[in-house]
Amino acid sequence: MTDLNIIIGGPQGGGIESAGQIAVKSLVLKGYNILGSREYHSNIMGAHSYYHLRAKEDKPGSLTLPVDALLALDAETVLTHYREVRPGGIVVYDPAVKATRVDSIQPMAPPLKERVKKDLESRGLPTTAEGALKAMESEGVKLVGLPLKAMLRKVSEEAKAPIASVSKTVNTLGLSAMLYMLGVEPGYIEKAISLQFAGKEKVIRMNVAAARIAVEYVREVYGEPEVLPDGPHKGKVRMVASGNDLVAMGKIVAGVGFLSYYPITPSSDEALYLERHKYVKLDDGMAEKVGYDRLSVVAVQMEDELASINAAIGAALAGARSSTTTSGPGYSLMNEGISLAVEAEVPIVVTLWMRAGPSTGMPTRTGQQDLLHSIFSGHGDAPKIVIASGDHVEAFYDAIKAFNWAEIFQSPVIHLLDKYLASAMASLDREELDLSKVVIDRGKLVDNPGEGYLRYKITEDGISPRARIGDAVMYMTGLEHTEDGKATEDPVAREQMMFKRERKMRKVLEVLPEEDKAVLYGDPDADVTLVSFGSTKGVILDAMKMLEGKGVKANFLQIRLLSPFPEDLVADILSSAKKVITVELNLMGQLAFLLRAHTGVKPDSQVIKVNGRPIYDYEVVEGVLKALDGAGRVVVSGGS
């Protein structure tokens, strides 16, 4: 069984992204499933960033540490990650960085410098990159030095290319050397390079030349490595996409017509990807069926998040499937709009990519701190739908379901995800994005409302026929209203509308299938029940297997629908749980709070992580073991 873990690190802007992408593509071509995440600073260029990836035969649900290989494109990477490589693993670096002192690295965070210096000093090692390399070597990590300058010169001579184009191959040299040492045949690396730079022939040629020179060099110095066996996923049409990409794809498949946004990490890449595909040519058969041949999505960068949500509301009123995307700070500004969408019963989808707060916090780091924020957003008793996706595949389908639910229940739907999922790449099979599973349900949308139409007609399920603005004389408002949408403060009419809106949320719980509410994975009789939501899903599923190896039988309750909370279902599942441990990336234990509020179950322990890094499989294991030892709250803190 292959389980390959890699970190590629260097200065932001120094080629980490394309190196990471080439690594991902090489391993996917080789037949593996991959999961790869970007970790970077809130900085344009120069600060440390890294690509963390894992390749397995089955789907990796989690990233992990220590890794098998570290590619360090600068001294800071060596000094940041030297404790994250397993014995027997490799580090690829340029010997020229050895002399660099910790203190001389300006971008490196001062607290990290102090920790590194203390560690190296305690081992009696110099506080330089060389010290860190020695520390690795003493723990059985193989040092693979690549004299980059000499190699670049060779690339330039052999490819007869100006150094300008050769300069773009520094990352490729290191990456190819590392992949080759890990047993990836050069053919895959070269094909991945061609895919990465498709359409740019010169760049491909140069990088292929660099890959060959790097491979030749390490083969000569370190000998021929054992070839990594091919994975089981060869000969397939696959997709490699980030969570951001998949949500954008889901929206387009769902028929989104309007996307408003104000740029904010980690949502901007979703908008960007959607914009890239906002204009789609339909094939002739489909064009005939729908009556147009070019599908156009109006994607507008607004002046702020207030405008974004209110424009999305406007477009939804006019009949478009309408959405906006943001993260915590922007969602704070959208709060009043959410409340309006509840009161005026507007079907909008708000994609909320959580990032590390409070306030501007750590914009490019992950967390699950907006659970309560999303549920309780909007003033004045504003019930709404909140769905959290557990992984890439769920993110795709949930983006579609969110629109269905928004229109069926005429309610805002908050699609809750996080920065980790946003930027993590995953490999997917065609069957995983299966359109036969996708329906488009527009609920009680009516094309010809006719005379005497009442927008807020009281009905048994609370849901009124919905006409588009422009098709009937009507009134939509955020003021309390009568059935015809006219403002009212009549106590009886008011109550009617309050309970009408409540009935819709009851209906949500009634009609949604269990798999969209809460899902129990594993043996119902397990000794421990882990409860979580969002992107921890894969991590916990991986950790369950590891726990089993340690003799702990755990199951996992993933809560997908956070509002309205499926309390009967969750209470029922938890009633037979022997020990309940919540796992979440926030300080307050927001999910634990909801569990208590809705089911009366007080978790026996809470495993939390708040350092802005994704949670790793071994951390869940460590957390559960400590919890079983009686710890009430376990804080896990891995990652760089």
Binding site: M239, F258, L306, I313, A318, R321, I440, R468, M476
Partner: protein, 307 residues
Amino acid sequence: MARSWLEYKAPAWVQWCPGCGDFGILNAIYRAVAELDIPPERLVVVGGIGCSGRTTFYVKGSNAHALHGRAIPMATGIKLARPELTVIVAGGDGDLLGIGGGHFVALGRRNVDITVILFDNAVYGLTKGQAAPTLPAWIKTKALTSPNIHDNVNPVLLAFSAGYTFVARGYAYHTSQLKELIKTAVRHKGASFIDVLQPCPTYNNVMTNKWYEERIYYVGEDYDPIIRTREDFKEKLPAIMEKLLEFGDRIPLGILYWDQTKDSFEERLEKIMPGYMQAPPGTRRISVDGRPIVDPFEVFKDRVIVT
């Protein structure tokens, strides 16, 4: 005329104070849309929050009542989803220029085909007469505890510099002239702005009908605000600037600036996505037999890898 303005009167109690300028504006709107023969279900009046925002409920239309300050973005969403509709924004000076000032500017940049009618009473009517962004400095209305020490913005100049392609000023009690301004504004394909001066008899005891009548005048035949070419712009700009800046002892009314050279936002969208207008987001079909019409493996080829 095909329709009587009475057809646009929604059955509602119009709850403004006696003597409020809003009545004049409302009446001018009724008559303008009637003369333009806009079917009520195709007419969208988007109101803000404030006395003026209530216009939403008084005009028979397919209307939306927005949050305080957010009428413009809501109207933008509606218009871009269904570009064939007539969209009018009705808002106060606090709503459009105070809390919603950012959106006011952004609409100019986009030049979406929306008509913005500013109910300019220089006070916050609905919250008891606080100073609004258009109240000149050192005026002390009865509701203020001390004179206003904020300067006033110039709405028409702001609209001009933000990029509105039709900028006019009217007076609430001159309903016939105002009706004509509204008609021209609605017909104009782009962001139109009408600053409608109006007394607030309840809270603004300084800028009264008398105060306005002593100052306002209509720009004459000799004043040409129309820009048909870029050369026009250079040539006419000095005179236009003079009118836009004039506010004090004399206040010009009428069309102050009308740029006919610019594409509306919808036209710009059509340029980058031909076919958008024919199948706009609000009304186009998004499924066939309840199934999506696009396949991710066909559309998102940039993420597909054949192993």
